[in-house]
């Protein structure tokens, strides 16, 4: 297991969504993403627990692009990863935000 922490400063409006949203499952090649509101104002904290060690740089790149795509102020995102590829991670993150904002069908 590897534990990683990231923080993004996002000077946007705090999105108004649900209290929390959870998508995905922890299984081999998959991951679980939980999004919660916090009172961190402009910051978005991301915590990653992953079974695959040594990929901090790729997590940083994936999460930076994700932060650029969305307005993430005032959120805490917790990820439990079972060795998912960056493609699956990006998809789950987008789904989690959509779910959180109440956009998903």
């Amino acid at each position: 297991m590897e534990h990683l922490r990231f923080e993004f400063k996002t000077p946007g409006n705090r999105p108004s969504g649900r209290a929390s949203a959870l998508v995905g499952v922890v299984s081999s090649g998959n991951l679980e993403v939980m999004v919660e509101s916090t009172d961190l104002n402009e910051a978005c904290q991301v915590e990653v627990n992953t079974s695959a060690r040594g990929f901090a740089a790729i997590w940083q790149a994936v999460l930076t692009d994700f932060a650029e795509r969305h307005d993430l102020a005032g959120l805490r995102i917790s990820i439990n990863d079972g060795g998912a590829t960056p493609a699956v991670v990006s998809l789950r993150l987008d789904q989690a935000i959509e779910e959180f904002l109440g956009m998903s069908s």
């Binding site: 090649g29 695959a52 990929f55 790729i58 790149a61 994936v62 060795g83 590829t85 960056p86 493609a87 699956v88 998809l91 987008d94 789904q95 959509e98 998903s104 069908s105």
Partner: protein, 521 residues
């Protein structure tokens, strides 16, 4: 010929150094004859030169371990690839060359004509006529090359009967027939369980359908084996139909009878399918659809690997396949260190047919895109699509600066790196990030940047120039899902026409009978 005397027969007819074709493809195997050959006395029979499509069985390896054979020319090696690499390193196996199927078959008639062929059929009659059933595969090619050049043809069959359902190989091309103690081995190689098709593959399949199949009007095509291709097949009755594409794409196929194509056939997408081999469990379904598949008067499927690979090369406008590694020129390879894999049909199917002359709209359109000089001689172009996720299992990057094939060449003494599909034959690369159209690239730099632009978070992808990638995107050379009007949120398993093997059985009206290992209900 009694089965018990086969070893004796082989010791009598084989001379040291003979070229021997041992039939076996990735589907059916002359496993009884392979076992007999592996047991002959190496003092009597040694240094054989094996010529065969596939090296797959432990007995194939045993031939080299015991010194019965020394050299091999082949096309594909399956699960024994690691052991094979070890034997090459130990000097026990000398590889002549690794071929694509048609190339190897071609050499059977030029410089690799077998002196003895050990073949496999379903049944024989008392005259020695052979019935292969749906898995005719390579048999006619091997027998043609051997029997008409004074060679000896020995066949193993499951049973000897009074009257065959049909004659696939005439008796006077066959010298000896033996009834094997057990039916020959056959592998269900093309069955992909829809339960294992994930969202990323579904997203990529949506891009292929909308961004390539609809864009070019692809109606004559071949799919490689794999979950990527299976995802496309399973989206035809749902996603492609919702785009109004029924009757407009995917009508004529060169394809093994993939169970995942059943929903598209039943939905009226598919008009014809010609197959290199059959697939275990698909026999009843294929027999019930002679309007789509090629079948004999007996009702069962007739396949032929040589003809279907010729068809795939000359008569298809598109090939789509996958690979393990791709470099920045678009060259791809399935070689990984310490394992000899081979090519199968990919180099032939995944290459432009420069001898082709007949026109189809898709072929002409691709040709126009590939041409940068208006004054140049116009010609068409086959679409060769590589569909890959940017990372494989265990986070191995698909996109690399340098293929492992180079290291393999250096360590094994080959004259060229074993490349499966050359970059200059590739027209499109599809990843979860988007489609790169290499036909539209005008310089080598543009081409590499287009590849980086779909290479995701691999080191190669992260080294992209963001401004150049945006420029390529403005010119339509790179297309993201949103550029294609694809809503990524729709890429869920709900879009699959069948989500399990059981649903494929339902689509077939109960005619598809999956092998036991795929039954989980």
């Amino acid at each position: 010929m009694p089965a018990g005397r086969m070893q004796e027969l082989l010791e009598a007819v084989l001379e040291p150094g003979d070229r021997v074709c041992l039939e076996g493809n990735n589907q059916k195997q002359a496993d009884f004859l392979a076992g007999c050959l592996a047991k002959v006395n190496p003092e009597r029979v040694h240094d054989l030169h094996m010529v065969q499509s596939v090296i797959a069985l432990p007995e194939h390896i045993e031939l080299f371990e015991r010194g019965i054979a020394h050299k091999v020319d082949f096309s594909f090696s399956g699960p024994v690839g690691v052991r094979m690499a070890q034997l090459v390193a130990a000097g026990k196996i000398q590889i002549g060359a690794i071929h694509t199927y048609l190339e190897l078959f071609g050499r059977y008639f030029i410089d690799l004509t077998p002196q003895v062929a050990l073949i496999v059929a379903h049944s024989a009659d008392r005259e020695g006529n052979l019935y292969t059933g749906p898995n005719t595969e390579d048999t006619p090619t091997i027998v043609e090359a051997t029997a008409f050049k004074s060679g000896i043809v020995i066949a193993q069959v499951n049973q000897i009967v009074d009257r065959l359902p049909r004659v696939d190989i005439p008796a006077d091309w066959v010298d000896f027939v033996t009834q094997a103690p057990t039916p020959h081995f056959i592998e269900p190689l093309f069955t992909r369980d829809p339960a294992q098709v994930g969202e990323i593959k579904i997203l990529m399949a949506m891009m292929v359908i909308k961004g390539i199949y609809a864009e070019y009007g692809i109606n004559r095509l071949n799919h490689g084996v794999g979950f990527d291709a299976a995802a496309i097949e399973l989206l035809l009755p749902t996603y492609a139909d919702s785009l109004g594409l029924k009757g407009k794409i995917c009508r004529h196929w060169m394809l093994n009878p993939h169970p995942t194509l059943i929903p598209a056939i039943e939905s009226g997408f598919v008009q014809s399918v010609y197959s290199p081999g059959s697939e275990l469990g698909m026999e009843g379904y294929v027999s019930a659809r002679p309007d789509v598949f090629f079948t004999g008067a007996d009702g069962s499927q007739r396949t032929n690997r040589a003809f279907s690979h010729a068809a795939g090369h000359y008569a298809c406008d598109l090939f789509i396949g996958s690979t393990l590694q791709m470099d920045l020129d678009g060259n791809s390879s399935t070689v990984t260190l310490g394992r000899i894999a081979g090519y199968g049909g990919a180099p032939n199917l995944g290459s432009d047919a420069r001898g082709r002359r007949h026109c189809q709209p898709a072929w002409l359109k691709a040709g126009r895109q590939a041409h940068d000089r208006p004054a140049a001689m116009p010609r068409g172009r086959k679409l060769v699509v590589q569909m890959v996720e940017t990372f494989r299992e265990q986070m191995q990057p698909t996109f690399v600066e340098r293929l492992d094939a180079w290291t393999f060449m250096e360590s094994s003494g080959m004259e060229l790196p074993p490349v499966m599909v050359y970059g200059d034959d590739v027209s499109h690369i599809v990843t979860e990030e988007g489609i790169a159209n290499l036909l539209l690239c005008r310089t080598e730099e543009e081409r590499s940047e287009a590849i980086r632009g779909v290479a995701g978070y691999t080191p190669v992808g992260q080294a992209r120039s963001r401004s150049m990638v945006e420029n390529l995107r403005d010119r339509g050379i790179i297309q993201r899902p949103e550029d294609l009007g694809i809503d990524k949120r729709l890429a869920t398993r709900d879009l699959l026409a069948a989500r399990s093997i059981k649903e494929l059985v339902h689509w077939s009206g109960g005619l598809y009978q999956p092998p036991q290992r795929f039954r989980n209900w």
